[in-house]
Symmetry: C2
């Protein structure tokens, strides 16, 4: 690919027979030149094919109109978050650099460093760790945490009310007569897992049901589509072999859910007749399964939008906000009453 | 958020008591200084918290180590492409700016312009139009087309063999005795739609079956999750009311497929007993539906990887490659023989 030389501001000024300052003023919409001059400058820009060099602008103003999004992987939940971020970024003329940490702390730090070196306007981070050690030299870049909290940082957070969502699912199963409820959780080290576990335990205790560790499973230490699907699968395979197997299962994300349902199908356990089931996350396919699945719905697109709004408040007014979005139980046809 | 002043190269040089050139050499791994000097410079960098300013570097070398990805929307197919791009970009230490054109030509051009102004190393584009009018001033940035071709540009392309994939699906249904096969296509203006239609027609002709326009449906002029799901739904609702309804349906992307299956469920038509069905695109949930769906599988992650490789060849050697990836029929249990 041939590299044509870019026409410069100087070339434009020369062609339009004005000063560089005048060209710059026209480009920045400062109405200090006559309409005739403005037209002449614009004509020169058009003829030369001049386009403003954003890197030069960045160097001058110190931020790049780029927002970084760091997610553990490209699973559909984070894609929905990206959609919300895109929607909101259009208002600011920002663009989004998407990077994955691949659920590795080392990689996450590398990515933060790379984005920081680019002088991004800010970073939206779904952290892989429950503690965040950002080297001091990187703390110049404003970070907003999304989905997952960290313990040791005073940063804006946009998250779902996971405790309440998990409580709702568990309580609904209890109210339908279930007392042996299996739960499948994601990686144990992240806040969302801890909170979903907490909501489950709170509901059991509230209804005087003993918390049985044997009914609590983790999908694995890492994310990644296959790992988590397999984690859900293995959890069910172990659960159904217990001396007192559960009558209901709650899978706390959509990948764990896919694996769990796969195992139930293989084991020939019919949902909801032989086992009740509640899943997590919203996906269109959940309506065409047989039965259609009841799920805890996450407002992922809205989380993305809110994260950009939180970033703006943080940057402009140094306000650290915590935004908690409600989770909703959508009841379709995957659990039944056994009372 | 407070904006601390960044330490400069000059600050580092002063602290290490060396020249700016020496600091620059150390930063660029030119081994012209003694180990003692190198250590002193690195110590000064550490103490000051100096981090290299990528915007300044960009200005100097003219590219930004950023790759742009422009997709019509954030649907899971494009997310899989992004995963492949991420994997390959790690080899080049590139990062990815993801932008959506929202299936609008105007927006697509705006995004190309914005990325171009950032001096991205290249753009991977899933074009919303079958013709691409890139203003001359933007042609400095190398573009690689992904998934969708355009007619009038001599650019590298990475695509799937859509004609063959669609032929396979149609032929399989024909070989199972079906002669009335409905097809649901996406937006009529894009190459993938035209090619999938072409494969369908070729298979019908090959087996001497009349091509009936009444069995060909479009999901709509635009993408977007809901629009396409609804498009698939409406297509089936019309199809099953035909005087001679189809005995098999082929839905040419996963969103059209979800809508189509939803309609079949509502109409109480059992797959595969009462109607045969083949879908498109790979998603883990297709294994847990009842029945599990037979689909044409797209190597989306691999397409992403290949696009970055094509970009590199284009940039470095000015080679315009066309990469065609095979599509595979994965047979599960959604069609049956009616002979």
């Amino acid at each position: 690919m041939e590299n044509k030389k870019n026409p410069t501001l100087y070339d434009v000024a020369q062609k339009a027979n004005v000063s560089i300052t005048t060209v710059s003023n026209v480009l920045n919409n400062k109405n200090e030149a006559s309409q005739k001059t403005i037209d002449r400058v614009n004509e020169a820009i058009r003829q030369l094919g001049y386009s403003r060099n954003e890197s030069a602008r960045t160097l001058k103003v110190g931020t790049s109109k780029l927002v970084g999004l760091i997610v553990p992987d490209n699973n559909p939940f984070f894609t929905q978050i990206l959609t919300g971020i895109h929607e909101e970024c259009q208002n600011h003329d920002w663009q989004v650099v998407v990077a994955t940490s691949e659920e590795s702390e080392k990689r996450q730090n590398e990515v933060i460093e790379m984005l920081s070196a680019r002088q991004v306007s800010g970073i939206i981070l779904a952290s892989v760790t429950s503690k965040l050690y950002v080297p001091e030299k990187l703390q110049k870049v404003p970070i907003v945490l999304i989905d997952r909290e960290v313990e040791n940082a005073n940063l804006p957070v946009v998250k779902a009310n996971n405790v309440e969502g998990s409580y709702k699912a568990t309580e609904t199963l209890i109210q339908n007569g279930h007392r042996r409820i299996g739960i499948i959780l994601a990686s144990p080290g992240i806040s969302t897992t801890l909170q979903r576990k907490e909501g489950y335990i709170q509901a059991l205790k509230r209804y005087g049901i003993e918390v049985d560790e044997k009914l609590m499973f983790y999908g694995g230490d890492y994310t990644g589509t296959k790992t988590q699907i397999n984690g859900g699968y293995q959890a069910v395979m172990k659960m159904i072999q217990l001396p007192e197997p559960p009558t209901a299962i709650f899978a706390t994300n959509h990948l764990l859910m896919i694996g769990a349902v796969k195992a139930l199908k293989e084991a020939n356990l019919k949902i909801p007749d032989e086992i009740s089931f509640i899943g997590f996350d919203d996906h269109p396919w959940q309506e065409i399964t047989d039965p259609p699945f009841s799920i805890i719905s996450q407002p992922a697109v809205e989380m993305g939008r809110q994260a950009i709004q939180a970033l703006q408040k943080f940057k402009e007014k140094n306000i650290v906000t915590t935004t908690v979005l409600q989770l909703e139980l959508i009841t379709r046809n995957s659990y039944r009453s056994i009372t």
